[in-house]
């Protein structure tokens, strides 16, 4: 409690609050533009935080994350194109509402559902993370190895349609992580005489390439095939179509709370993203509704279901990141990188060494939620002009930003080259349906995995029995085997029934 008050004092300065709000505004803006994702926004914002103190830097990035979650729903509702993948489920009822002239009503519902679910999820984070971190402090190398292996397997298994493709991507990620200086022996690996390679492949160049550049390339191509959709928005003059009444909010509250519970629970498991939760909650709301046939025709509750489902994930994904040091999705992987740049390693020790920072961030989360409500309300009206930025202007802008942003990380053109290499790799992987998330997260967790494995083997003098003789480690390994076999079995049954 005392720490919480210190955190309150640390966070609530004009300077910090301003940066948090700036983050929210950028998030909403970027999230609302189809073609710019939250991931891209956070990746491109990280280079800007280098010169900042840890608290405003991380608060701003969290703001981008939260703002982007809501921002994605703006274009989903107005032009039937989700600004972020997580808002895909919002399209189902959001756009039909726009066609009925209820665009403003839908946007407001999306905002209220987002902020409510997000805030409740943050409360769970604040309550759960510290005790979990205390437990994790007792983990030794064997436990850490098994835990990382378990998390990686889940991420690989759920992020694509194919288990093997996910695992292949993850393996490549771990391989990329070995480039550079060997952490135990201090010798060089895969540097091939380049001094620049000695520090390893940078997380940010990889990230900006994999997500921002490949996205532009994919979209440039898709546009040739499909053409650009026109923008058409109807706006009713009746006041009841332009606002959400208290009665309507109360009617949707049950759905929002269900979304919160679902999102918080699933968000805490690494690898389950907000897109899945949004659709799951949408489905559950439809099943529980007295009028399931109205879903998809412009039902207010449908918007609430999708938006509460995806926003509740925001707080929960921070649980494994802060307490275990394991990022559950791409945005948290970016946050992990941002923490590292500030000299803070997320994980159980962070609560002891940087307790104040953590509690300041908890306060920061709440500031961002309030900011989201405030700026979100303002942006609902301004939203339509944002959507007029044509894609053909957007793409060169993004590419230039990728170039400068990557260069600025280390004043290095080598990083820019690496970034572009990953851009092309990301493009090819996407084309052939290989998921990118396992590659990135495996890359981030690779060093942790390797260190834990080698330290454990040094402890046991080369005996791999150490991983199964310790109960927590054995538990994680069994869970890993169980998940893989379950998923493999499901896939096998699905393909067998097709033949």
């Amino acid at each position: 409690m005392e720490q919480f008050l210190i955190g309150l004092k640390l966070m609530l300065t004009w300077h910090n609050v301003m940066f948090a709000l700036l983050g929210v505004a950028v998030g909403i803006f970027v999230g609302s533009i189809p073609g710019l994702t939250v991931t891209m926004a956070t990746a491109l914002m990280v280079p800007l935080t280098f010169q900042m103190d840890p608290i405003p830097a991380i608060a701003m990035l969290l703001g981008v994350y939260k703002g982007g979650m809501f921002g994605g729903s703006i274009s989903a509702i107005l032009i039937n194109a989700p600004g972020t993948p997580a808002a895909s489920a919002t399209v189902l009822d959001g756009f039909p509402m726009t066609q009925k002239g209820q665009a403003l009503k839908a946007l407001k519902m999306a905002l209220y559902a987002s902020v409510t679910a997000d805030t409740l999820s943050d409360v769970v984070l604040i309550l759960v993370a510290p005790p979990l971190a205390r437990l994790a402090l007792r983990f030794g190398p064997p436990e850490i190895f098994s835990l990382v292996l378990f998390s990686l397997t889940i991420i690989a298994a759920v992020s694509g349609r194919s288990l093997i493709k996910g695992l292949l991507a993850a393996t490549l990620g771990v391989l990329f992580a070995t480039v550079g200086m060997d952490p135990v022996a201090g010798t060089s690996r895969f540097t091939f005489g380049y001094v620049e390679m000695l520090k390893g492949i940078g997380l940010l160049p990889m990230l900006i390439g994999l997500f921002a550049v490949s996205e532009v390339l994919i979209r440039v191509e898709a546009e040739v095939k499909e053409g650009i959709k026109g923008i058409f928005i109807k706006d009713s003059d009746r006041p009841e179509d332009r606002r959400v009444s208290w009665v309507e909010f109360r009617r949707c509250l049950r759905t929002i709370l269900r979304g919160t519970a679902l999102g918080t629970f699933l968000g805490a498991i690494p690898g389950i993203g907000s897109t899945i939760t949004a659709f799951l909650n949408y489905g559950m709301a439809q099943r529980a509704s007295k009028h399931p046939e109205r879903f998809g025709q412009g039902e207010l509750e449908g918007v609430a279901a999708a938006e509460s489902g995806n926003s509740a994930v925001c707080g929960a994904t921070l649980i494994p990141l802060l307490s275990l040091g394991i990022p559950g999705d791409i945005v948290t992987a970016v946050l992990l990188g941002a923490f590292m740049i500030q000299g803070i390693a997320p994980g159980p020790t962070m609560f002891q060494e940087h307790g104040r920072v953590i509690y300041a961030l908890f306060v920061g989360l709440m500031v961002c939620n309030l900011g989201n409500l405030l700026i979100g309300s303002l942006s609902v009206r301004a939203a339509r002009s944002v959507l007029r930025i044509p894609q053909k202007v957007l793409y060169p802008t993004i590419l230039l930003l990728c170039f400068v942003g990557t260069y600025a990380i280390d004043n290095s053109l080598f990083d820019v080259q690496a970034m572009f290499f990953f851009g092309i790799l990301g493009y090819v992987m996407r084309k052939f349906d290989y998921p990118l998330a396992p590659l990135l997260i495996a890359f981030v967790l690779g060093p942790m995995l390797e260190n834990a494995l080698r330290q454990a083997l040094i402890m046991s003098e080369g005996d791999i029995g150490i991983f199964i003789s310790r109960p927590i480690s054995l538990g994680f390994l069994l869970l890993t085997v169980l998940t893989v076999s379950l998923i493999a079995f499901r896939i096998w049954r699905r393909t067998a029934s097709k033949d």
Binding site: V220, V224, V404, F420
Partner: protein, 149 residues
Amino acid sequence: MRFNYDRLIALILFLFSVVLYFFIIPWGVEGAGEGGTGLSPDFMPRWIAVALASLSLLHFFVARGEGKGVRLFHQRVLISIALFVLYIAITPLLGYLVASVLIMAVYLLHFGVRRWHTVVLLSILFPVVLYLFFAKVMLVVLPKGSLFY
């Protein structure tokens, strides 16, 4: 029957893992084989190569090539890539600002902006704003260009 791209990729990955194990690791890892289990720097890379080999073999036999018929590198994508490579190449010569203005203009034309005053305005304005932000606010030293100095 459609061509099974996944099998081809599996094959490429398998060959890569073999080359990785027998050639790249002994050549690229300094101090390979020294220090015993767990201590040797090539311990992890070798396991990765083995994992990659087994996964790609499995992929080869299981893959059903359900992915849509894929045509890689559409002409517009190729030009976008080539332009970026050019951007990286000319920046050390011309400096950030000149290179960016040029590339931005070409990109705008390539993506189909036809009004010339839009092209001129945007391709000067945006790089300059970026320059001011990064060089003056963030104090990043952007490439100056060797041709002029």
